[in-house]
């Protein structure tokens, strides 16, 4: 993987929140090492307080790391210029409630110095895309939470960004809205954009993420391709068609002898929810750092730290 294809890279990224007197209050992120590659949908999973949002804020330069560093497009996060290529949807729709949808998008468009005519056309397209045409002139204070998420998402992609950071994009959305957002995220990926999203709605993440990182109490607990992570390695599953009933009990030994039509021999997959709960349980039972191997490239450990 060339350096150009690494969109986000964190090295020993650590964040400690301190109180007024500077005493450590909570260690929100502990020595996070990860890479996000061009064109993938990367999910940051974890229970509340696991450090997902902190990670995104550190990536955007809204917080400064206590230790380590984060690079986006191989530039430090404090570089304002990199934001021209980034779209960001915050955890809550922190938008100006006194503006209407059109004004909101126009304002953010101006921050990217998009020309007026181009801005107008993008605003129309985005409002149409997020299904807020009927409410485009209403102030956001009158919007439901779902509508606010939609306009929030629209503002995040007003600049046609290369990298989109979505902090819990489906929170507050109904099932239809969630499905639409998921489709939209996949569409963005198909356009070649890199997407980082955080959340704890596991089914949603399982559907769309290419790779995920699971965080718990600020530590990276698992990292890899979703499919790889969900594969149960110690179980072999055999699917057989037209096998005689008599052979079922001795299936392993007789398949070849009976020349049955072996359709598949593989490992069953669990659900992301099961995986997630297992990791959280294990973390609680055995606290401390653990070695995390990127399951995409098993031979190369992606993140490691002393136990």
């Amino acid at each position: 993987m060339s350096q150009r294809d690494i969109i986000i890279e964190t090295k020993n990224l650590t964040k400690v929140y301190r109180d007024f007197w500077g005493r450590p209050k909570v260690q929100a992120l502990k020595a996070l090492d990860l890479q996000v590659h061009r064109g993938e949908i990367f999910g940051l999973l974890g229970p509340n307080g696991s450090g997902k949002t902190t990670t995104i804020k550190l990536l955007l330069g809204l917080l400064f790391p206590t230790e380590g560093e984060a690079l986006i497009f191989n530039e430090p996060t404090t570089n304002v210029k990199k934001n021209e290529r980034i779209g960001y949807l915050p955890e809550e729709s922190y938008l100006y409630k006194f503006l209407n949808a059109e004004e909101t998008l126009d304002f953010y468009g101006r921050l990217f110095k998009i020309k007026a005519s181009e801005r107008r056309s993008r605003i129309n397209k985005l409002i149409d895309m997020v299904g807020l045409n009927h409410a485009r002139h209403r102030q956001l204070r009158e919007y439901s939470k779902g509508m606010q998420r939609r306009i929030g998402l629209a503002q995040a992609i007003i600049n046609d960004p290369e990298l989109v950071l979505l902090d819990e994009p489906t929170s507050g959305l109904d099932p239809i809205g969630t499905a639409e957002i998921k489709d939209l995220i996949l569409e963005l990926r198909n356009q070649g954009k890199t997407i980082v999203l955080s959340g704890h709605l596991l089914a949603d993440m399982q559907d769309i993420c290419d790779r995920i990182a699971i965080l718990h109490r600020g530590e990276l607990r698992e990292l890899g391709r979703v499919q790889e992570l969900l594969t149960v390695q110690d179980i072999t599953q055999i699917k057989v068609r037209d096998l005689p009933e008599s052979a079922v009990a001795e299936i392993r030994s007789v398949i070849e002898r009976h020349q049955g039509n072996l359709v598949a021999v593989d490992h069953p997959t669990t659900t992301l929810e099961e995986l997630f709960l297992r990791i959280v349980r294990e973390s609680d039972q055995f606290p401390g750092r653990r070695k995390v191997v990127d399951r995409q490239t098993p031979s190369e450990p992606v993140a490691s730290s002393p136990n």
Partner: protein, 810 residues
């Protein structure tokens, strides 16, 4: 001692070696010269005359401020980074302890309680202090270096190293002086003097380096500021003010409600004061409402944005922190501009309608009673005239006032009649007492009074001790080209130059003589025609002749006066107090004299023939005496002036509103700055405190800055509070008192300079000048604009640095 170097450095090079030898310096001239320049550039308290000197002082001050800010920011960073160097902590603690012990020793020594031995001619207490300071410095420097390394701040590390070179250079020069310098009396400079001087120069050099770095960073930051983004942020701030805070609507509603009932409660004490009262009140109302609006808008915006986390969606866009601050200022100032224009427009229409209708009513009433009651008609005419005068923009030429008392003795002030709060002093009627206004390039009144006394006694006047003032009358403004007086003036000036030896002026003099002859012939002809017309009673011919004569002559110039009268007796009821005025051209001796009744509370004026100005070169003396016996005429310098021109009231009113706008600009910058690091209630209080400090308490703060208050600084005052000593009583020099005074002497210089952080809001307010009917000059407006920018820019830049180093999501 070191001043000698500078004096020598400024002397001619060939003389320097000789002079150096004369005062006992054994160094080559070039070195002496070089050290002189280093001293000029390096010593924070030394400067030279003129613009260069002012600029240099300004650079030194700004440099030292940026040095303090840079070090302060690095210390804060180190504290945040929790840098702990166990190996050096002990040294630092010992240094701090040693410092306290050193202060104690020195206080005890200065109060005579102990006698400390000397080490190489330096008090042991001072040596201990020096060593302690060095120990703390070592610890501090190591801590800062580790912090900068951890932050990978290569630029800061580089600057840190350069600063040390600058300090070393300063110390080198300090020791260079120490090695060479011997004062005439043969007293060598001490080692401590050399260190002290070296540190002073070194700190200034360090200030220059940090200023350079700051300037570089700012230039980089400024170059990244985009007007589209800045205006977008401004647009947002404006929308927020209008839709969330409803501020402009509230302010406009209050303004209209107050305006609707203005005529109920605004009753001028005299009819002629109407315009003054209305202009002053409306501008005050406008200023007050805008100030309130800004106080509640500007400090709340950023903290609310941070608190509600809406700032996340802004700072995650390519918006620099400077755009975030300037955008807000631009937004609010856009709003202020609209409101000022709206308020100004409404106020102006209201004023014009009210005052003009009053003037018309007064004139018509005067006309109606003129036949039956001429006295009343004259009073009404005066009122109308005063109202008209106030609705203009008079440009005054002010003289410098000195007095002669009842015995004719020159005085800086007139007679004090016991009215303490009255800034006017008086001249006594029917005595030689008079007020003398001098126009031209005039000496300070203190010098003039001394010289008048010298001249009276037949002695030679002494050179001026105070700065000379330029109060020349702009003669060219009054003498219209193509008139007899203009030609006369030109001739006089040219002949003067010719008498001084300038050649080649003959042709111009001849041409002017020809023009003068033509004009004189025309004047004589018109005078005759006027005489004939008057004799024949042909009013049309009289008007025509007068109009033609006015073409040949310049207009008389107007001297305006507003005196008060202090009556020791009632005098004759109905009879006014009289004053005599004498306008003297000191060059030609041409005079104008008149006696006139003084109109109390009104502006008197005299129309002086333009011939008095001929050849004056801007020099005039105007003497005013009180004619009426036993009465006193009260006057102050600004009570008499020559009216240079009469501008448009509208544009003057606009300039008055510019003052309100500038006040809002400074306040907005302070509010936005406060919002970058404080929560909204604290930011709001801070902004209010700045406003009150700059508007109401500026005089008090000035006194504090100049240390002109009784009772000492904060520590001495605290001691006096505890010990129940009043402000005036002398304190016994006990250890506590000496310690308090020592701390005061450390704290007060810093505090007195910090006072200037508070802007003088009152000086930006020119509404009184407008209300009095005087022009707000262009230079005054420019001066105020520069002053407002001098506050608004640093506050916004300070806000930028705070925001840049702040975690908005923390």
């Amino acid at each position: 001692m070191l001043d000698t170097f500078l004096l020598l450095a400024q002397a001619d090079a060939p003389q320097q070696a000789q002079q150096a030898q004369q005062i006992g310096l054994d160094m080559p001239a070039w070195l002496l010269n070089f050290i002189g320049w280093v001293y000029l550039f390096g010593d924070p308290a030394y400067t030279t005359k003129g613009i260069f000197g002012s600029l240099l002082t300004w650079l030194k001050i700004i440099g030292l401020f940026s040095l303090v800010a840079w070090i302060g920011a690095r210390i804060l960073g180190a504290i945040k980074d929790r840098i702990n160097l166990p190996a050096l902590s002990g040294i630092a603690a010992a240094g701090l302890l040693g410092g306290i012990v050193s202060v104690l020793f020195q206080v005890l020594q200065s109060t005579g309680r102990i006698a400390l031995p000397s080490v190489a001619g330096v008090s042991a207490g001072a040596v201990l202090g020096l060593v302690s300071m060095l120990a703390v410095l070592v610890w501090l420097e190591a801590t800062l270096w580790v912090s900068m390394s951890r932050r990978k701040a290569q630029g800061d590390k580089f600057l840190f190293v350069v600063m040390h070179f600058a300090l070393a250079l300063g110390l080198f020069f300090g020791f260079l002086v120490y090695s060479y310098a011997v004062v005439p009396e043969g007293i060598k400079l001490t080692f401590m003097d050399a260190i002290s001087q070296g540190v002073r120069i070194g700190l200034t050099f360090m200030g220059y380096t940090s200023l350079l770095m700051l300037a570089f960073r700012l230039v980089m930051e400024f170059s990244g500021v985009n007007p589209i983004r800045t205006l977008a942020i401004g647009w947002l701030a404006r929308k927020e003010a209008m839709r969330r805070m409803w501020a402009p609507y509230v302010v406009l509603a209050v303004f209209l409600v107050v305006l609707a009932f203005t005529h109920w409660f605004l009753q001028p004490p005299r009819p002629a004061e109407m315009s003054r009262l209305f202009v002053g009140t409306l501008t005050l109302l406008c200023s007050l409402l805008i100030t309130l609006m800004i106080i509640f808008l500007s400090p709340l915006s950023l903290p609310t944005d941070i608190q509600q986390q809406t700032i996340y969606t802004i700072v995650s866009k390519p918006v620099s922190r400077l755009e975030l601050i300037w955008g807000r200022i631009v937004g609010y100032m856009g709003l202020v501009t609209v409101i000022v224009a709206l308020f100004g427009g409404i106020s102006y229409i209201y004023l014009i309608r009210q005052v003009n209708s009053t003037i018309r009513a007064t004139v018509s009433e005067a006309d109606s009673v003129r036949a039956d009651n001429p006295l009343r008609a004259a009073q009404l005419d005066d009122q109308a005239e005063q109202l008209t005068a106030r609705m203009s923009a008079r440009v005054p030429v002010k003289g410098s006032l000195v007095f002669r008392d009842s015995r004719g003795v020159p005085q800086i002030k007139g007679i004090d009649v016991g009215q303490e709060l009255e800034y006017r002093t008086h001249v006594e009627g029917a005595t030689p007492s008079k007020g003398i206004w001098r126009f031209g390039v005039v000496s300070h009144p203190f010098d003039e009074v001394r010289n008048m006394a010298a001249r009276d006694a037949g002695r030679t006047p002494t050179p001026p001790a105070y700065p000379i003032q330029d109060r020349r009358v702009p003669v060219d403004n009054f003498l219209r080209p193509g008139t007899i007086e203009y030609v006369d003036n030109q001739l006089f000036l040219l002949k003067g130059r010719q008498a001084q030896g300038t050649t080649g002026l003959e042709s111009r003099i001849e041409a002017l003589n020809t023009e003068k002859r033509t004009l004189s012939a025309k004047d004589a002809e018109l005078q005759l025609a006027l005489k004939n017309a008057q004799a024949s009673g042909d009013s049309a011919a009289v008007d025509k002749a007068e109009a033609a004569l006015a073409e040949v002559h310049s207009d008389p110039f107007r001297v305006e006066m507003s005196f008060t009268i202090y009556r020791t007796t009632k005098g004759r009821i109905g009879e006014p107090v009289f004053a005599a005025i004498k306008v003297i051209n000191p060059v030609t001796g041409e005079q104008y004299e008149n006696t006139f009744p003084v109109r109390e509370y009104y502006t008197d004026y005299q129309l002086v023939p333009p011939s008095v100005l001929v050849g004056s070169d801007g020099f005039l003396n105007i003497e005013v005496q009180c004619v009426s016996s036993t009465q006193y005429l009260g006057m102050a310098e600004s009570d008499l002036f020559i009216l240079a021109s009469n501008g448009s009231f509208f544009w003057n009113f606009v300039r008055g509103l510019v003052g309100v706008w500038l006040q809002a600009l400074v306040l907005t910058s302070i509010g936005v700055f406060a919002g970058t690091f404080l929560s909204w209630p604290v930011a709001l209080l801070t902004t209010i405190a700045f406003f009150i400090g700059g508007q109401v308490a500026y005089g008090y703060l000035q006194e504090l800055a100049f240390q002109a208050q009784f009772g000492g600084g904060p520590f001495e005052s605290l001691y006096r509070l505890i010990s129940h000593d009043n402000q005036m009583s002398d304190l016994t020099p006990t250890v506590a008192v000496v310690t308090a005074k020592t701390f005061d002497s450390l704290v007060m210089p810093v505090m007195s300079r910090l006072v200037y952080v508070v802007p003088n809001f009152a000086s930006l307010d020119v509404s009184n000048t407008v209300a009095d009917g005087f022009a707000v000059t262009g230079s005054q407006v420019i001066g105020n604009v520069l002053m407002a920018l001098a506050y608004a820019l640093p506050f916004s830049i300070a806000g930028f640095f705070v925001l840049k180093n702040r975690e908005v999501a923390a």
